[in-house]
């Protein structure tokens, strides 16, 4: 927790309402995000109980599983969910855009937009990940056939869950994460995981402080939890009797229909408040203007969506249960690069995020007091344009001479620290030598060199290109990492043996 964010929490306590920690929105928000609020049955291994799904506030569809321990019903739920998710995915596949590759020598096509899934909290992401895991190896044929859409849904949910691990991706977002990225509440991180309490701080009802609204929201009788876990009292006193009534109805169609209707009503009442909160949270985020680099990151999601859609179309197999050594290393490398780049981009987009780096000495803001835009360095083989500027700042300058700094205003330009001189009134003078971002000639085009009087932020954070690592082919996995994988697992039977027995039933 940065001191700046911690201070925002302290201010939120005093103000009685959440305080902003961002001035722009750092994630893409789709016009039609698919909001999914799942509930799971307590004690089971990720057994779905119900879900409320839809791409607009008035399009909520309720799915329920009257007997979550029954595997047939579990996969019927998956098929029903697939019936909503798969057509929604297809909506994004009718238009493509051309993207230049290989320095403009070629183009490739990607979908013009990508789908976005929103769930209430990180536990919701875990639920989808595990639900994807439990469905993607299923088969429409064989001993325990499922609807053909079930394994497909599993692969897409797995795709979304993997994107959710990718820093800066907005393909699958937990709303609590998205909101706490932009506001600090007067409660702890643990309490922020509870969506109703979080929104109590963000948007308290009239006459209540954030703390009071959050306290009310913590009472499960007044405000059901945002799932996937249900309230134990609800389970014991309300859900269990209705589920029993459904089971007792047996083959009596009238009693069964009545019990089912009652179950639907009960679960809808548990899910509806969270549904409202989801769209209220989306509304709060929509009110913020998007950061400059958000669209670029969303392009990454579009690429990933396109690539996975092509993989599925080409008959590619489901994602493996575990990555091999090389795939795991490459994935970790990708995630680390994305994490670095995401942190830098947020700071570049948002002065309030950059302020966190200024506080730790990774950035400072100053005024340009001298500029020599025509300076040419002719000591080398051929002369090069190397303008110098002097910046005066009141902030502590912790960077050493020789360090390379960057400015969000001109991200393509490097500024090498030449002199750092203490001046009067605790100020510091920094002389910088500029290179890059000024064309190819020996005269800098107007605007490419900061002018005297300009206020400039300089930082060690670079949004420059990070080269991809080199990894061996899987069959060349070094012995330190287990050596080449043994003969490829028989693709004929992708269902792990332990899962191949879906007939088991608990009661």
């Amino acid at each position: 927790m940065s001191t700046l964010r911690a201070l925002a929490r302290a201010q939120a306590v005093a103000a009685g309402v959440a305080q902003p920690v961002a001035t722009v929105r750092h994630l893409h928000l789709s016009d039609r995000p698919l909001v999914l609020v799942p509930l799971a049955l307590a004690g089971e291994a990720n057994a779905p109980l119900a879900a409320l799904v839809g791409a607009a506030p008035d399009e909520a569809r309720l799915l329920v599983v009257p007997q979550p321990r029954n595997r047939d019903q579990r996969f019927a739920f998956a098929a029903e969910l697939a019936g909503i998710v798969l057509p929604w995915l297809d909506e994004f596949r009718d238009r493509t855009e051309a993207v230049p590759v290989d320095r403009g020598r070629d183009v490739r096509h990607r979908y013009l937009d990508a789908p976005q899934l929103l769930v209430p909290n990180p536990a919701g992401i875990t639920f989808l990940r595990l639900f994807g895991r439990s469905t993607r190896f299923r088969r429409p044929d064989g001993e325990h056939p499922v609807h053909p859409s079930v394994p497909l849904l599993g692969r897409w949910l797995t795709f979304f869950a993997e994107r959710a691990e990718h820093p800066g991706s907005a393909a699958l977002v937990a709303l609590t994460d998205a909101l706490t990225l932009h506001w600090a509440t007067g409660q702890s991180v643990v309490e922020d995981l509870h969506l109703p309490a979080l929104l109590g701080w963000l948007d308290p009802p009239p006459g209540l402080t954030g703390a009071e609204a959050a306290a009310l929201a913590e009472d499960p009788a007044r405000c059901p939890p945002a799932g996937p876990a249900t309230d134990p009292d609800f389970d014991n006193h309300r859900l269990a009797p209705v589920m029993e009534a459904y089971a007792d109805a047996g083959d009596d169609p009238v009693a069964r229909a009545a019990a089912y209707a009652e179950l639907e009503r009960l679960l809808h009442d548990q899910l509806a408040p969270t549904w409202e909160l989801m769209w209220r949270g989306v509304g709060l985020l929509r009110a913020l203007p998007a950061g400059a680099r958000v669209a670029g990151r969303w392009d990454g999601d579009k690429d990933a969506f396109t690539a996975h859609a092509e993989h599925v179309d080409a008959g590619g197999g489901p994602q493996p249960r575990r990555d091999g050594a090389v795939a795991a290393a490459a994935r970790l490398h990708r995630l680390e690069r994305a994490l670095t780049s995401y942190a830098v981009q947020r700071a570049y987009d948002d002065p309030l995020v950059m302020a966190e780096h200024r506080l730790t000495g990774e950035a400072f803001v100053g005024d340009v007091t001298l500029a020599d835009p025509k300076r040419v360095d002719d000591t080398g083989k051929r002369p090069v344009l190397r303008p110098r500027i002097q910046v005066v700042t009141t902030e502590p300058v912790l960077v050493p001479v020789g360090a390379t700094l960057y400015s969000p205003a001109r991200p393509g330009q490097k500024a090498k620290v030449v002199f750092v001189t203490p001046a009067a009134d605790g100020k510091t003078e920094v002389v910088l030598e500029l290179s890059g971002g000024m064309g190819r000639g020996l005269t800098a085009p107007p605007g490419t060199v900061p002018e005297v009087g300009e206020r400039l932020c300089l930082t060690t954070l670079s949004d420059g290109f990070l080269p991809a690592g080199n990894f061996p082919a899987p069959e060349e996995t070094p012995w330190t990492h287990g050596g080449p994988p043994a003969a490829a697992p028989a693709p004929a039977d992708p269902v792990p043996a332990a899962d191949a027995d879906p007939a088991e039933d608990w009661s």
């Binding site: 001191t3 306590v13 895991r133 409660q187 302020a355």
Partner: protein, 359 residues
């Protein structure tokens, strides 16, 4: 009755001490610096009732669906005289599956403590499984009986605690919080089992620090065994139990006449509790029945926002003080100088950025 026991009885009021189980003992290891909790737990106060009486009821319900599933899985694993369980445990420990292991259910008897002790400390060291042993631990000078849903497996001359849990292990991974809870609970059993053997003059180290955790694998109900090393948990547990054994030191910090007697009226009760220092952290919400009361009391303190927040604010204890230092309206104490400078800089940067100044 010793003076200490007398004092603890007064704190408790006229009721018998609440019984501990492995779960409550394991919970003691969280937040070891909290005097309020150590005193109430040592006295055996009924904390859920206490929390309810003072208007801050705990929310630690358990769904009957979870209980049903847990029981069903346990019954399945223990079926057929533990044959399947024995195979799982032996294979996980890398020893040959023995023929003719004995299965002793110590749960059904009247004279359980005696029988458990005799059975577990008998000199034989052939392969054997003991279900529902009754174990004991000294907690705050009082003997506490543990009735674990546990199997002690004696294989190749060593005892292993076998813990059966119904959370799934999917592709070799389980919920870390659940595994951590299982590890600390198992450590309680390891400790109790070692004490039992030591009391009979046997080598306590025949009880392994490696606990066998049996869980359903993936999404099916087939059990899978894994090993958990609980040495760290044993250390933590011993330290906290030792601390509770020195309850006299803790009681010295408690105002004379303090009582958590449930028949006292709520306002007096709450007032008395305020007199015993607590150390609230947000993590308490998941572990201690009194957490909501302590949280309410800690409002306005930076610690209630979480330890990382408090540290990031330079360790300054109160929110009002943080803001006063940040705004420069309060002169810092000498030891706060550094924190105050940081807070002032942070406040200035925040105000700057929010006012829309270019960065």
């Amino acid at each position: 009755m010793t003076e200490t026991a007398q004092r603890l009885a007064e704190i408790r009021g006229g009721v018998p001490p609440r019984r501990h189980n492995a779960r409550t003992i394991a919970a003691l290891t969280g937040n070891p610096g909290c005097t309020r909790r150590a005193v109430l737990d040592s006295a055996g106060v009924d904390k859920p009732k206490l929390a309810e009486r003072i208007g801050f009821p705990a929310r630690f319900g358990q769904s009957r669906f979870a209980i049903t599933r847990g029981n069903a899985f346990e019954a399945q694993v223990k079926a057929d005289g533990g044959a399947e369980l024995l195979r799982l445990v032996a294979e996980r420990l890398g020893v040959p599956v023995p023929d003719g292991a004995t299965w002793t259910d110590l749960g059904a008897d009247e004279d359980r403590p005696e029988r458990s002790r005799t059975a577990l400390t008998a000199s034989g060291d052939g392969p054997a499984l003991f279900d529902h042993p009754l174990l004991g631990l000294d907690v705050a000078g009082r003997r506490v009986n543990l009735e674990p849903d546990l199997v002690a497996a004696r294989l190749a001359g060593r005892f292993h605690v076998v813990e059966i849990k119904s959370f799934p292990i999917i592709d070799g991974q389980a919920d870390p919080a659940k595994v951590a809870a299982a590890a600390i609970q198992s450590a309680v059993y390891v400790l109790a089992l070692r004490e039992l053997l030591a009391a009979e003059g046997r080598d306590p180290d025949v009880v392994s620090h490696e606990v066998v955790l049996v869980c359903p694998r993936d999404f099916a109900n087939r059990p899978v065994a894994s090993l958990l090393d609980v040495r760290k948990q044993l250390l933590v547990l011993r330290r906290q139990l030792d601390r509770m054994a020195r309850i006299d030191d803790l009681l010295a910090a408690v105002p004379a006449g303090f009582t958590a007697d449930l028949t006292t009226d709520p306002a007096t009760l709450a007032g008395a509790l305020h007199g015993v220092p607590a150390r609230y952290a947000p993590e308490c919400l998941a572990a201690c029945e009194l957490a909501y009361f302590c949280r309410h009391e800690a409002r306005g303190h930076t610690g209630a926002l979480g330890r990382p927040v408090r540290e990031a604010l330079g360790g300054v204890a109160e929110v009002a003080e943080v803001l006063a230092l940040a705004e420069g309206v309060r002169a810092p104490e000498p030891e706060q100088a550094e924190a105050a400078a940081l807070l002032r800089a942070a406040a200035r940067l925040r105000a700057d950025a929010l006012a829309g100044h270019p960065a």
